[in-house]
Subunit: 371 residues, 2 copies
């Protein structure tokens, strides 16, 4: 197995850790933020640009690739890395989150989930085995167990039932996994906002001995404090020598608070999605570039940033691009937002190295306007 996690250092004042994740397509310095390339492309970017911005690993979505262009086609192309021309590590999700988000279009059974495509209404069935089959065909370095991500709030009874099924599905995923030597399969701890369920979930999954663990079902609408409480409780239950992944987290505060609680990996569409709407993440907080007040603002997007967009273009120019709906606007905003978050994670790693993560967080929060 080409997969290994090295725990390099634990911070003095928090549970934050520095690590090194070895994958078949390269080594990742953790903690890390993973840009999302839903449909085999990080929206608006080339793979070289994503790499140059500092991304070490990207995430792609099983559900979307299964529907279009189809996992069989991607396999025929030589796998996802070759198909999309990204030669670094890739993580694929299980498709569970998207399928469960379909609402009335899906039906959960013990065997798996029946659903209708959001594109053409065609009927599909994804079981744990099918999810792994698709992910084996795609060929990502890290793949995920098929789980149910329950909404917030959810009743104790439902959270329990669902968590137990997720555990049974995890077992089936492990058994169905055909390429354990080249793809690391991560388990996903569920249990909603109930500590005893989180504990049971973690214990059962640890017994299955996965090479890494995600904490699922967080950042689904609950207050930040509740996510923190669940992380405070859950991460200590997980093995120290394996990577921990908080799924779907991408705002600076959620990233800081996750890392502080021992999280090594996170992903989110937020920086790329809000970029395409013209919202920039800056050292001074969010900036909505379409606002009239930037019309004749010839200053940098973010005075403290040295990304390609900030070095070469003014707010007035980027506002003009958004105003007339030019693709370059989406590109520049995406470049900036990804750089912003990837740089933030680099600074966080630096701060952990020097045991000053809390100071760095407070300084960042003050400037950003969180406090």
């Amino acid at each position: 197995m080409n997969f290994k996690f090295e725990l390099i250092k634990e911070e003095k004042y928090t549970k934050a850790r520095l690590g090194r994740l070895h994958t078949p397509h390269g080594v990742i310095e953790t903690p890390i933020f993973m840009p999302v390339g839903t449909r085999a492309t990080v929206k608006a970017m080339t793979p070289e640009e994503v790499k140059d911005l500092g991304a070490q690993i990207i995430l792609s979505n099983t559900y979307h690739l299964y529907l279009r262009p189809g996992h069989d086609l991607v396999e025929e192309a030589g796998g996802l890395h070759k198909f999309m021309n990204w030669h670094g590590p890739i993580l694929t999700d299980s498709g569970g989150f998207q399928v469960f988000s379909l609402g009335k279009l899906r039906k959960i059974k013990e065997e798996g989930v029946e659903f209708r495509s959001h594109i053409d209404g065609s009927k599909h069935f994804i079981s744990p085995e099918k999810s792994i089959e698709i992910q084996n065909a795609l060929g990502a370095d890290i793949i995920m167990c098929f789980d149910e991500c329950i909404p917030y709030p959810a009743s104790y009874e439902y959270a329990k039932q669902s968590m137990e099924r997720t555990t049974r599905w995890a077992k089936r995923c492990k058994e169905a996994h055909k390429k354990p030597d080249s793809q690391a399969l991560f388990g996903i701890v569920q249990g909603g906002m109930y500590k005893d369920l989180r504990k049971k979930s973690a214990e059962d999954l640890i017994e299955l001995d996965f090479p890494g663990y995600a904490i699922g079902g967080l950042s689904v609408g609950e207050p930040l404090e509740m996510m923190c409480e669940m992380l405070d409780f859950t991460t200590p239950l997980l093995p120290k020598d394996k990577p921990r992944y908080n799924m779907g987290v991408g705002t600076p505060d959620y990233l800081f608070e996750s890392v502080i609680r021992g999280i090594d990996m996170a992903d989110c569409v937020l920086p790329t999605r809000v970029a395409r709407n013209g919202t920039l993440l800056t050292s001074q907080g969010r900036l909505v570039i379409r606002n009239a007040k930037y019309k004749r603002d010839f200053s940098k997007l973010d005075p403290e940033c040295d990304c390609y967009a900030c070095r070469n273009y003014s707010r007035a120019y980027v506002r003009h691009l958004f105003n007339v709906d030019e693709i370059l606007g989406a590109r520049l905003a995406t470049i900036h937002n990804l750089y912003f978050l990837l740089k933030l994670m680099e600074n966080i790693r630096e701060a952990i190295k020097e045991d000053r993560l809390l100071e760095y967080r407070d300084e960042f929060y003050r400037k950003y306007g969180y406090i």
Copy 2:
């Protein structure tokens, strides 16, 4: 004046010429194709990418920039070069073509053209003086006289009247031009498909002694043969030591036939526009990448091309991108099409150097499927 045209060589068997155009922002090897950056951006591209593809000069549109973001704003930003981060030569058109294309939304008078914005219906008036004022504010290296580009077909009477007005307007443009030392103002020969009118137009404009001449009103729907006939007749009327520009020409055949008849410059939105619809210009002719037959075609976009898109992605992947409406699809197709035309012009210059332009044309036409 920082503007100079050197005639380097005339081809042995055609009227094709090799030249060197010196502008305040750099030297251009002619004949040249100019990519279009309508609204201060070559659609989907960064300026660095456009330069790396081989572009030596780009064109931008006065009408569009006048409406949004406004020429005064661009001037305040330090001019178009700085605003859009393109540091090579720029040519701006006069706004005439766009204004006259508005149809019922515009009204032509001797003084100028009254029109309503295609965006919000607001009323505007562009005179020759106003067009030059806008172009002076934008600050391009080459600017154009405000002219009327008449449609094809047009009556002799209308063509004559319009041509005479265009000449009167050219005189007014020259007088209004505030920056003759840093911006070269080109005259535009009109006269529709009538040789005596073309002759009169050329003679009158030559008398005004512009540093370069465009031939307007061609490639407006007339057959290729008719364009060739008009060029055959018109270019010999123009001074040899000044650049000649055929406006709005961008398919390989129109480019070849223009160059063969002594044209040094051309521009067109075609390569970038069809790219965004998924049409690729290839050595084997046009390729519509959305077609089902490319679904599992893992070969290069164009087997003979070595652009970034062709080197790194398959037809199946680019088809997938268009199929799911990803920005990267438009980017890759634009990169390929611009590279294709810019490379074609480079090959044309090479062929002129070696007096084998007709052979090269015939070889190209056979492969492309023109003959």
